[in-house]
């Protein structure tokens, strides 16, 4: 956002020279020059690209507006989409509000002012989503999205710099070694090729040289991940996060090797992906889908925690014989997506604290004698429903 602002000011200088190219088709639509203020006019010039589009040309258009690499915009949008959906909000808003190239009105057909206000609101919403999400790592409060975003930006900029530098001084190689044997009948040249090829190619690369480590690392990854899978099937359960953790270990070791030997192209990006996967899986320790049903017959059988990623969780306590032993117990039921049903037997006082995200959740409780139900809000936008059951058989359901 800061970058956007500063770019906008920078562009103020070069705008006069580029006006004919940049806004040519726009100015020709009959609207004439925009009469609003300086910033207003800059934002209103934003168009979705027709030529450089993957979905709706938002990234391409924004990149041209800011005069930067569209890949950069796309990477940022994808990363933002992963964390709290900020990227989706930004893209959607731009899709609806920003006109196509050569058009003066967006999909929603708003005025320029409304469009600008809408985009600013989208930015604020996106910032709120970004800051509100991803601050966890085993209880750790840390701005993960910003860290990942920073790393990705750094890598993209770095790659862009090196690729631009690498394309410039590439020496013209006369013939690739493999072209000779395939294209022409065997001659006396192939034996001399191996000695020629290295000497011809050595002056070109400036940075670390040697064999690329991506291939061998990928092979090691497959072995390790497959081995872990076999271990899980044959011997013992492993947490889901062990897979990205194992992958990250292999990549980390490969990078350390690559610091002195070979080239590490692509490994860092692979490591970042594994890091994100580790964080995500560590936050929800087990990925379980389907129906989880437990009908314990004694208090000892009642687990402290029931976790489900998506599906239905049913905990039927009506069969528990030693109800007194449940006194003071806290049972956590975590169902990321789906329904939780708890059946409570007669003679058990239950205090239920339920909170659900997103806001669309309902809590209903049925009971023979009556269930007190209250609803309050926590955190500010998220409702928390408290169903308090006073004895009698009760069944509480959250959807």
């Amino acid at each position: 956002m800061v970058r956007w602002r500063s770019e906008r000011h920078d562009r103020g200088m070069s705008e006069s020279q580029q006006t004919s190219i940049e806004s040519g088709p726009v100015a020709d639509t009959g609207r004439g020059p925009r009469v609003s203020g300086e910033q207003m006019r800059d934002v209103s010039r934003l168009r979705r690209s027709r030529t450089d589009r993957k979905i709706a040309g938002v990234a391409g258009g924004l990149a041209r507006h800011l005069d930067i690499d569209p890949t950069l915009i796309r990477v940022v949008l994808v990363v933002l989409a992963l964390f709290g959906g900020a990227g989706v909000v930004l893209y959607g808003a731009a899709w609806l509000l920003v006109p196509d190239e050569g058009q003066s009105e967006g999909v929603l057909g708003t005025s320029t002012e409304t469009r600008t206000i809408g985009l600013v609101i989208a930015l604020i919403v996106a910032a709120a989503l970004l800051l509100g999400d991803g601050w966890w790592f085993g209880g750790l409060t840390f701005p993960w999205p910003l860290l990942v975003l920073g790393l990705v930006l750094y890598l993209v900029l770095r790659n862009r710099g090196t690729s631009a530098a690498a394309t410039a001084p590439t020496p013209p190689t006369p013939e690739t070694p493999e072209a000779a044997p395939t294209g022409t009948p065997p001659t006396g040249t192939p034996p001399t090729d191996p000695s020629l090829a290295p000497s011809a190619s050595t002056p070109a690369p400036r940075g670390p040289r040697g064999p690329t480590l991506l291939g061998i690392t990928t092979a090691c990854l497959l072995v390790v991940l497959g081995g872990l899978g076999i271990y899980e099937l044959a011997i013992a359960d492993v947490p889901t996060a062990a897979y990205p953790a194992a992958a990250l270990t292999v990549i980390g070791v490969a990078l350390l090797v690559g610091a002195w030997v070979g080239r590490v192209g692509g490994l860092i990006v692979l490591g970042l992906v594994a890091t994100v996967a580790l964080v995500v899986t560590a936050a929800s320790p087990t990925l379980r889908f389907g129906e989880l049903e437990d009908r314990p017959v004694s208090a000892a059988d009642v687990e402290a925690q029931y976790a489900m990623t998506a599906g239905r969780t049913v905990l039927d306590l009506s069969g528990v014989e030693d109800l007194e032993a449940l006194d003071g117990r806290t049972i956590e039921l975590d169902n990321r997506l789906g329904e939780i049903v708890v059946v409570v037997p007669d003679g058990l006082d239950v205090s239920v604290d339920a909170y659900a995200r997103p806001a669309s959740s309902t809590c209903s409780a049925r009971s023979a004698t009556g269930v007190a139900s209250t609803t309050r809000s926590w955190p500010p936008t998220t409702p928390i429903q408290t169903c308090r059951s006073t004895s009698a058989s009760a069944s509480a359901t959250w959807k």
Binding site: F142, A245, L256
Partner: protein
């Protein structure tokens, strides 16, 4: 095995990735609790960052007398 000049970026990211895995493993086997793990990542980042700064400085200091610092240019970009 032939080595090349130190790739500081690979070194820093390699250490960071292994550090993250270590932190996760310590947390997973309950050697550190949530409170301690909150300290782990910032300290890890500071640590690997310092390693990177030291490695880069050492590399630049070694290189300067012999060659122009052209080789390290991609680290700035």
């Amino acid at each position: 095995m032939r080595t090349h000049p130190l790739d500081v970026t690979a070194l820093v990211f390699g250490l960071t990735f292994l550090g993250i895995v270590t932190g996760w493993a310590l947390f997973e086997v309950d050697l550190i609790d949530a409170g301690a793990s909150a300290w782990f990542l910032p300290l890890l980042l500071v640590g690997t960052g310092l390693v990177g700064i030291v490695a880069w400085s050492a590399k630049a200091a070694v290189r300067r007398p012999r060659r122009s610092p052209d080789d390290t240019q991609h680290l700035h970009s």
